[in-house]
């Protein structure tokens, strides 16, 4: 019964909601609204369950003096300070977020907001460092991705058009140097001339490519965002949607039972 009853509830609810979507008339229309009301109420209680689970987990860490138990203790203290301060402000001013509330003025605006903003701001440093270390043009696909990312990054900011030609020129110059120095060491004359020719071509291309990016970096960034990026995104979305439908059907029909564990 422990398995059959939840599977039956899932099946009936799922089928009724699918019917309600396609036939939004009575009795299905109001039934969907009723189901959604229940869902909203259950979501509210899920928050309480989440708080209970979080506190219990950290209290266990503190009571067992597990590794980094002090962080768990600070979480529990912060939780109750927030809760008590919120209640106190709510009772004193009528609502915990009213304009006079010290909870809103001090705790939220001067403690919570700067803390969360600081955590997120640190990402800028990590991203810069990670981009420098990890973005390597070691394959053609990686080089293409890197080049596109660079153009989008420059094309979305005000100075992009002015700076992009120099960046692209530098890349071509390095490419020419590498090809030339490789070509000089080549024993096979055909490969040598091909590489040196490639180096010369790179040097010749610096000016026209630089001119193009001087005028069209923003447009190129827009094109990348609107055509190749969008095509890939759409493919991913369609894949996710099909996967979602397949998984929903499996759950409704009782084939997928992992949620019962």
């Amino acid at each position: 019964m422990k398995r059959e009853v939840p599977i039956a509830i899932t099946f009936i609810s799922g089928v009724l909601l699918v019917i309600a979507f396609f036939i939004p008339h009575e009795p299905f229309g109001s039934l969907e609204q009723r189901f959604n009301d229940w869902y909203i109420i259950v979501s509210g209680f899920a928050l309480i369950l989440g708080i209970d689970s979080l506190l219990l987990h950290h209290w266990n860490k503190v009571s067992r003096r597990s590794k980094d138990w002090f962080h768990s203790l600070s979480l529990i203290i912060a939780f109750f300070v927030t809760l008590i301060w919120g209640f106190y402000s709510g009772i004193k001013t009528g609502h915990f977020l009213s304009a006079q509330s010290t909870f809103r003025q001090y705790f939220y605006m001067y403690v919570f907001v700067p803390l969360q903003a600081t955590m997120f701001s640190l990402l800028a440093f990590f991203i810069a460092s990670a981009a420098y270390r990890a973005f390597r043009a070691d394959r053609f696909e990686a080089a293409l991705l890197l080049f596109s990312a660079g153009i989008v990054m420059l094309g979305r900011v005000p100075l992009g058009n002015a700076v992009a030609p120099y960046m692209v020129g530098l890349v071509f110059l390095i490419f020419a140097y590498l090809l030339y120095s490789d070509g000089r060491k080549e024993v096979d004359p055909t490969r040598r001339y091909l590489k040196i020719g490639g180096a010369v071509l790179s040097l010749i291309l610096i000016y026209p490519v630089g001119w193009f990016f001087l005028h069209y970096t923003a447009q190129t960034a827009g094109w990348i965002m609107n055509i190749p990026q969008l095509a890939a995104k759409r493919g991913i979305f369609v894949g996710i949607a099909l996967g979602g439908i397949a998984m929903s059907l499996r759950i409704i029909l009782g084939i997928e039972k992992t949620y019962l564990r």
Partner: protein, 272 residues
Amino acid sequence: MKYIEKLAKIDRRIIYLILFLTVLLPYLFKISLPMKPLPEVVQAYREIDRLPAGSVVMISIDYDAASMPEVQPMLYAILRHCFSKDLKIIMLGHWPLGIPLGIAALEDVAKEYGKKYGEDYVFLGYRPGVAAVMINMGKEIRSVFREDYWGTPLDSLPMMRNVHTYDDIAILVGFEAGSTGDYWVQYAQARYNQKIILGGTAVVAPDWYPYLQSRQIVGLIGGLRGAADYENLVHHKALAYYGMTPQAAVHILIVIFIILGNIGYLALRRRK
């Protein structure tokens, strides 16, 4: 060659220091750069601009303090635009931790334009259950929000008397830092044909270009650039506009670092 190889091994503390100075200096010297607004932002601006006075705009706060530097300036700019055109605002949110940010912006801008609570704007607050909230609001807003955030019954607020479903809302503007924008499109737009504008962080905005092309949303404000463009369009240059110079400098710096890293990497690989 050794010097070139060293380019692949710049100490991360040097990178952090250069980055810090790159952000700080443009702010200290208040350097600003000219920008041409992006078409998707202009589209969003025009959609709001062409609404007749008295139309209702619903704004959803689906972000919190972590995304505040990018998204909050958009909220201020849109609120200024709406209030300057005498549009009515209904605000709600699906991220409970972002609710006070919405309240703060709404109160600030309403005060700036001398707008009255209940007549010109209303704050509904938060209800759990994202998708269920969106679907039920399409049938009757009161089925989800019987009262506003401060406990006043909706029917006692003059502005809300004739507002019941999405049919009574001219445009919905979702400010996003996650996937709630997708839910707005899936439920409010696809089921109820609600006009939607989405604004959000530069990380989530690229996900919405398919919606923009298929006209499931009528405008897109992405990242600090989008916010700066909107500030520019409403002729009220503020945080986002002045934040674009540091952002431009950092973008250029990161591209330089990537090029330097690759030069060093190629030099090392050739030697090996």
